[in-house]
Amino acid sequence: MLDTLLAATELLLRLDVLLMICGGLVLGMLVGALPGFTTVMAMAIVLPISFFLEPIVGIPFLIGVYKGGIFGGSIPAILVNIPGTGASVATTFDGPALTRKGQSRKALEMALVASAVGDFLSSFATILVIGAIAAIALLIGPPEVAAILLLSLLVIAVTASGSPIKGLVMLLVGAFLAMIGQDPIGALARFDFGFHQLQAGIDLLPLIIGLFAIPEILLALESRKASFVEARQTRAEGDPLTWREITASRRTILRSTLIGGTIGMIPGVGQVVAAFMGYSAARNAAKDPSRYGKGELDGVAAPEAANNAVNGPTMVPLLTLGIPGDNITAILLGAFVAQGLRPGPQLFEEQGVLVYAILGSMLIACVLMLLIGWVLMPLFARIVSIDKAYLVPLMLLFAVGGTYVYRSNPMDLWFMIGFGVVGYVARKLAFDVSPLVMGFILTPPLEYAVGQTVLLARGDVAGYLVGERPITIAVLLLAPLLTAWILVRQHRRMRALGRESASKVDANAPQEGTETDGNARVDLNRSTGGQG
């Protein structure tokens, strides 16, 4: 075992390997930062390059693109409130608020650190216990996916901020929008109101660009200030992240890594669910949850660490069974087989050194991402300092261009504009749109998993779950307990906070990973609208 690892390290520590990983990371970050260009697209385009490289160079290159791309999505989410993917929606809760306070650099660097640490730890754990994860992955079928999605929705709902009724309304609207098109099991058209264009359903990308970017652009136009950033510092991007701030967030990052790593075993929806769960958990654990949504550094660290921690376990079915769980791993599978390597148990035996070297490249990619990001983030952060007269048209260009370039469907532009109006009105009426996005993203997999479960049960759902799916039953039993625990905790903390403010004791700074510097309390209600 040790021999294998040493040989693998030797294979990996070559200049061309490291350079290609760096190239992949930079490419991935740039593509990921452009709305509309997905990580999967970037990987598919550069895949043929790997055909003509050695496996130990080509596959780490693709892994670089993968990791860079997933992280890159958080850059526009933090700077201009445009989440490029579902996974970075939770990052918009606190990221843009920090940007407006003139702390875009801190926010980006926190996202970078959280992403790299979360990814590194989950990849490392994956390498250590790859066999156990592979065994668990086989226990997760449609009934378990359904139960875990239900549990996630419940947890996110009870920990959400703002009015629960408004949140529920938005959640249901999102769920309904997701149902337009075809029903996933029978493939029958539904809710298309006779429009052929609706038969294909609504895609996530025009929906999130519309809901987040368009209102941001309209609000920026309404405001009379010349700069996007409201703070009065000389440098719009603000100060760099300090070591103290990183250590203050360590609990949040570790908690999110654990959540993300666990959720990573669920195929498909992992990253989105992980990001929201990570955020909810951090908010729930915070001494003062009211700071979240107003520009809290932990609010950026939590979703970013969680969605990147998903990456490690998603590689497991690919490497141990040769089965790609999603499109990204399907492309990696293509890269493997084009090299004459067939991932699976045999590959571990025959090419153990190479497999461990590739696993090791995941770790190296995280370290390199941290280094490259540390150089690039201040440059990205400066984008928001350009004059609003240029920045707003640029945002519009990216919003419209990104929506179209995604799959060249003109209909998507109409959806984007429509959701832009919805998002704008929602902001003005103080409705938070994130439950809508959650409902939209989680309804299809939930419906699919429930439909599959009913079919798998062949008529006797209760008997099937009790008799054959103990994990599902366990998760379903856990849901009310966890909800009760969260509610009790919230109640206690409210009382404690009440007492604290009554006795006016404020000198004692919070010990947990929730502290930020003094100007975190700048009033942002006007610009963050519904999230206040």
Binding site: M41, A187, G201, N409, R458
Partner: protein
């Protein structure tokens, strides 16, 4: 340095920067767009990446892949149908999208009037698989169990009216077995479900088969890609073979000038003889059973009739 050079050349070819001398009157005079009506990372995407990394050398122009997924392939196909019929827009699709969909939904195009075949670069033969420790040792065992217990066998497939549901349905109708059909989101998840024991059987393409704890029982088609596994032809279900195989096909909007169509068809013949193409396809575990466009247009006509019958009977 060679490494960087290769990378750069490959990258340049991909993004369409490859400068190639082309006189004004020749076809193609600008980059060719190849629409794929499916998402990134699927087997079509992988095949297309190989084809488009070799084809530019033959045509003298870059070939750009444009992924247009949505509505089970309709979005991309509709866009291709509306594209100018000048030979610069092609679609890389398969027979289930091309010929079967017209019977299960209303399409905004007419497949057999709006498109003409350029080539069928290759096929993929679905292989019926069970778990390595399954009680079914042969296809006959599976059929015997299925006949005695209607609805008991769980047949997982990769999506409605897709590459595994169609051969499975046709085959089960031929042997008069009624399984419970369970859709999964693609070929990967369905194999994982089989290995987990959630379903009793499914199909897999040969490229997925090796190294897994799976037992192949039957291959759809004429000759078997896996040694010792019988085929539908051998067992007397020849009808299933023709409609159950996945034909990967390149189509052009109808009305492409004859001389341009000839250039394109010729390019695919040359592609099939290219050693790089052959090597890459072999590594991917894909065959290179090219069929010319004219010949495949006749196959399309036959497929349409058969799919109509299959859908009507379901």
């Amino acid at each position: 340095m060679r490494l960087l050079e290769t990378t750069f050349v490959a990258l340049a070819a991909m993004v369409g920067l490859a400068a190639t001398p082309a006189t004004a009157q020749t076809f193609p005079e600008r980059p060719i767009t190849m629409i794929i009506p499916l998402g990134a990372g699927g087997s079509h995407d992988l095949n297309a990446r190989v084809i488009t990394s070799v084809l530019p050398g033959i045509l003298g122009q870059p070939v750009v892949v444009q992924l247009m997924p949505g509505a089970g392939g309709q979005t991309g196909t509709a866009a291709a149908a509306q594209a100018p019929a000048d030979g610069h827009t092609l679609i890389f699709t398969h027979n289930f999208i091309d010929q079967l969909q017209q019977f299960v939904t209303d399409l905004p195009y007419e497949p057999n009037e709006d498109f003409v075949s350029v080539a069928r670069p290759n096929t993929a033969q679905p292989i019926l698989v069970v778990r390595g420790d399954s009680p079914f040792a042969t296809f006959e065992d599976l059929v015997a169990h299925g006949r005695e217990n209607p609805g008991d066998l769980r047949f997982g497939h990769s999506g409605n009216w897709g590459a595994f549901m169609v051969p499975g349905l046709a085959l089960m109708q031929a042997v008069e077995v009624q399984p419970t059909l369970i859709p999964y989101q693609g070929g990967g998840p369905v194999i994982q479900a089989l290995l987990a024991g959630d379903i009793d059987f499914t199909f897999a393409f040969p490229s997925v088969l090796s190294g897994q704890d799976l037992r192949p029982l039957l291959a759809v088609g004429e000759t078997s890609p896996v040694e010792g596994v019988p085929t539908t032809d051998e067992l007397g279900y020849g009808d299933v073979s023709e409609i159950g195989i996945m034909h990967r096909v390149v189509l052009a909007p109808a009305g492409v000038p004859e001389d341009r169509l000839a250039v394109l068809r010729d390019a695919f013949s040359k592609l099939d003889e290219d050693p790089t193409y052959q090597t890459l396809m072999e590594r991917l575990g894909e065959n290179t059973d090219l069929m010319g466009g004219a010949e495949y247009d006749e196959v399309r006509g036959r497929q349409a009739e058969r799919y109509r019958a299959l859908v009507d009977s379901f």
